[in-house]
């Protein structure tokens, strides 16, 4: 959707955010960033009314009073502000870099475009000092960046007492590739490939959020046919990823018969994506203006394959839920609903704690007003609740896919798209990616060039959940807990 800028004085920002969030329930901080270093740019969301507000707070110094103590949802965003823009949130309780390690010079701020206000520039280096837990018998376990399995890199520093984890601190940023900066350098028509590559298990959702954000500022609307194909793509991606995440959880409880079959069925879900778009990951399929051409003769095959997949999934997923051993392993590592709210968690992680926030209902676009499935919510916020939410969403996605295939109208898949973006506009695309709320925020300058492109991956909000969930649990339970959260390193690091 296209956004109007509202100026909020930097001194009032903390209180304004707090008042907004104390309003009707569900209101949240979407993201907090900057355009070029000279201001704070805040997106405030009201999911119940589908309202998004864009607040800009001009800065007159290189620092401001940190919002985190009043608004914990801002904590990670403020760290990134420092990393990428050199803006210091003074009084931040855990000020460390998120994205840029000390392989980068201390005065390197890739997204900052304006000179520093203070001539003394910047004093903090990029070293990362882990929180220490002291006491007799307490020791540290460092894990990563390279992990034993086939998974993205990140560093986990555990402080343990015996088998019990007292504290876990994360150091991410290992796969920072400079995506957001590159998005301001590429011609906008090529940006979708980079958005997809940012976190490509979320390729369809990223391409969709990119398309929705740009279409909203260009003022164009894709055809109904294209909207149907987009929903199909998004649900296929959700389906495939939920299947493999449940498989991963099965592997980590030692339930290999279940897990290997789920991996095979995930291949069938990817097969649906392959049939629709020629790519198992739906790459290069969704673009501003619509979708790539689809040979409609494959739709009957997709419908048949999806129905067969559903029939195979039902008994197989049942095995996980019926296994007492697996369930007992999974009824741990819970996150309280209040902590999930406080830290602004989204998606499966939040829904497993009982928070019914799903962007398909809250910020519907395309066909979702007609096809949004009921929100699947868990009760206890533990690993098993997250498995339950995924299970529910697998079947609701299959229902949506079936319903869409019954209703696709023939027609063109693309509308014409202007060459230039409009000048001085702000747009946003909000999509329920399989992990949760994904926000793409775009700002153009007076020449119609993209001056800022911010991808707020659901993992950006959710990584804190790992530290919270694993506290006081056993080190041996960490892989299962991590898999149950299944967060994206690349989506966070960009």
């Amino acid at each position: 959707m296209k956004l109007e800028k509202k100026i909020v004085e930097i001194g009032n920002l903390s209180q304004s955010i707090r008042s907004w969030m104390e309003g009707p329930s569900g209101r949240r901080l979407g993201l907090l960033t900057s355009i070029d270093g000279g201001q704070l740019a805040t997106l405030m969301l009201d999911p119940q009314k589908s309202v998004v507000e864009y607040w800009e707070s001009p800065l007159k110094a290189d620092s401001y009073r940190s919002l985190t103590l009043m608004v914990p949802q801002a904590h990670w965003h403020e760290r990134v502000l420092w990393d990428m823009f050199g803006i210091t949130p003074e009084g931040h309780p855990r000020m460390k870099h998120v994205l840029l390690h000390d392989v980068y010079p201390p005065d390197f701020f890739p997204l900052r475009k304006i000179p520093f206000f203070d001539s003394k520039g910047f004093s903090k280096d990029r070293s990362f000092n882990f929180l220490e837990v002291r006491g007799e018998g307490v020791y540290e376990i460092p894990v990563g960046p390279i992990h034993a399995g086939v998974i993205e890199p990140g560093h986990f520093r555990f402080s343990c007492f015996g088998e019990t984890i007292l504290n876990l601190e994360l150091k991410l940023g290992y796969v920072h590739r400079g995506v957001e900066k590159r998005l301001t350098e590429l011609p906008w028509q090529k940006g979708r490939f980079l958005a997809e590559a940012a976190a490509s298990d979320t390729a369809a959702a990223n391409a969709l959020a990119h398309a929705v954000a740009l279409e909203s500022i260009m003022g164009i609307e894709p055809t109904a046919t294209a909207q149907h194909f987009r929903t199909l793509a998004l649900e296929m991606e959700r389906l495939a990823m939920h299947i493999i995440d449940l498989a991963g959880m099965g592997t980590d409880t030692g339930y290999l018969g279940f897990a290997q079959n789920m991996s095979r069925l995930r291949g069938k879900a990817l097969g649906l994506a392959h049939n629709l778009s020629g790519s198992r990951f739906l790459r290069a399929f969704i673009l501003p203006g619509g979708v790539r051409n689809v040979d409609t003769s494959v739709l009957a095959k997709i419908k048949k394959n999806a129905r067969e997949l559903k029939a195979e999934l039902k008994p197989l997923i049942g095995f996980l839920h019926e296994s007492q051993i697996a369930r007992e392993r999974m009824e741990i590592a819970s996150i309280s609903r209040s902590l999930a709210n406080e830290f602004g968690m989204v998606g499966i992680v939040a829904r497993a704690c009982g928070i019914d926030y799903d962007c398909r209902q809250s910020f519907p676009h395309g066909t979702y007003p007609n096809f949004a499935p009921p929100v699947t919510v868990g009760l206890k916020g533990d690993i098993y609740s997250r498995a339950q939410v995924r299970t529910g969403e697998i079947f609701t996605s299959l229902d949506v896919i079936d319903a869409i295939l019954e209703n696709i109208a023939d027609g063109p898949t693309m509308v014409s798209v202007p060459e230039q973006l409009p000048a001085d506009t702000y747009g946003v695309g909000i999509v329920e990616a399989f992990r949760g709320e994904l926000i793409h925020f775009v700002a153009t300058d007076s020449d119609g060039k993209i001056v800022r492109y911010n991808i707020n991956d659901p993992s950006h909000n959710n990584w804190t959940a790992v530290s919270i969930a694993i506290r006081d649990n056993l080190i041996a339970d960490f892989p299962l807990c991590n898999k149950s959260l299944a967060l994206s390193y690349s989506g966070n690091d960009l």
Binding site: H101, I151, G178, R182, Q260, S263, F319
Partner: protein
């Protein structure tokens, strides 16, 4: 337990017995070049390619195309846009090579010169044969077994496809291939992702921890050339500039069959992809 056993037995053997079959019609394959003459002054493919993988050499009115599969993300736009049928789709999963140069296709007769222009350098062919000293028989030691350590530095879809290639359908394990937890146990280092600055040191240390003989396999376009991330401040230009890569598997991500093909090429059991010019439509 019995119910699960019953289920497992009833699903039967899922493995596709003949590896790396021909893809079906829906698969969006990598581009290939034909001998249909490219229109001089056209440049449609160059303009539309997201990674700059295509170059056109317009010398005295005759245009020649060079296309680097090592920078190709399979978006299909060059195939869609080409008005002369010079760039077409190639339906094959067998895209892995043992030489960086073999990933560059060109219609020009001066192949070596165009390849050097596209790559900016010539990389030495690092044969997958074993090493020095008493073991130097010139034979490939990995024909019956290959243990791989995977280091991910990118977006995770290549990792997901490596994981899929170990599942019952593609069953890489039937060839004696296992993913191992430590570089100490590994014969080959599979690198995925463009290897940005923060992962360069960990990657090199991982390689250093591997006993010889050891191989490096670049899985995916990012690992070969940096893909969409090439040339940024994060220096994410692929593994090829950091480690001695033996096998290159292009794709974004490469299909599990392409990964199987790359591993089988490393094991000396399948032929690598060779650059060729297809006959163009008349």
């Amino acid at each position: 337990m019995l119910k699960l056993l019953n289920y497992l037995l009833s699903t039967g053997i899922q493995t596709v017995i003949d590896p790396c079959p021909t893809p079906d019609n829906e698969w969006r394959g990598m581009p290939a070049l034909t001998d249909a003459q490219c229109g001089s002054g056209c440049n449609a493919c160059v303009e539309v390619c997201p990674t700059g993988a295509i170059s056109v050499f317009d010398e005295s009115g005759k245009a020649d195309v060079a296309l680097d599969l090592g920078a190709c993300i399979q978006c299909g736009l060059c195939i869609d846009q080409c008005p002369t049928g010079t760039i077409v789709e190639s339906k094959t999963f067998r895209v892995a090579t043992n030489s960086r140069e073999d990933l560059v296709l060109t219609t020009s007769a001066a192949r070596a010169e165009k390849v050097a222009a596209v790559l900016g350098r010539i990389t030495p062919l690092r044969k997958v044969v074993v090493a020095d000293g008493e073991l130097d028989t010139g034979k490939n030691l990995f024909t019956e077994s290959l243990h791989a350590r995977v280091v991910s530095t990118g977006c995770s879809s290549c990792d997901a496809e490596i994981g899929a290639s170990g599942n019952p359908v593609f069953d890489l394990e039937r060839f004696g291939v296992h993913i191992v937890a430590s570089p100490r146990f590994a014969d080959a280092l599979f690198v995925t992702g463009p290897v940005g600055k923060a992962m360069q040191n960990p990657l090199v240390r991982c390689y250093g921890a591997m006993p010889e003989p050891r191989l490096v396999v670049a899985v995916g376009t990012c690992a070969i050339s940096g893909g969409m991330h090439k040339g940024g401040y994060a220096e994410a230009n692929g593994a090829d500039s950091i480690l001695p890569v033996n096998i290159f598997i292009p794709g974004c991500p490469p299909h599990p069959w392409s990964i199987v093909h790359g591993v089988r090429v490393a094991m000396g059991k399948m032929e690598p992809y060779k650059p060729q010019i297809l006959p163009g439509k008349k």
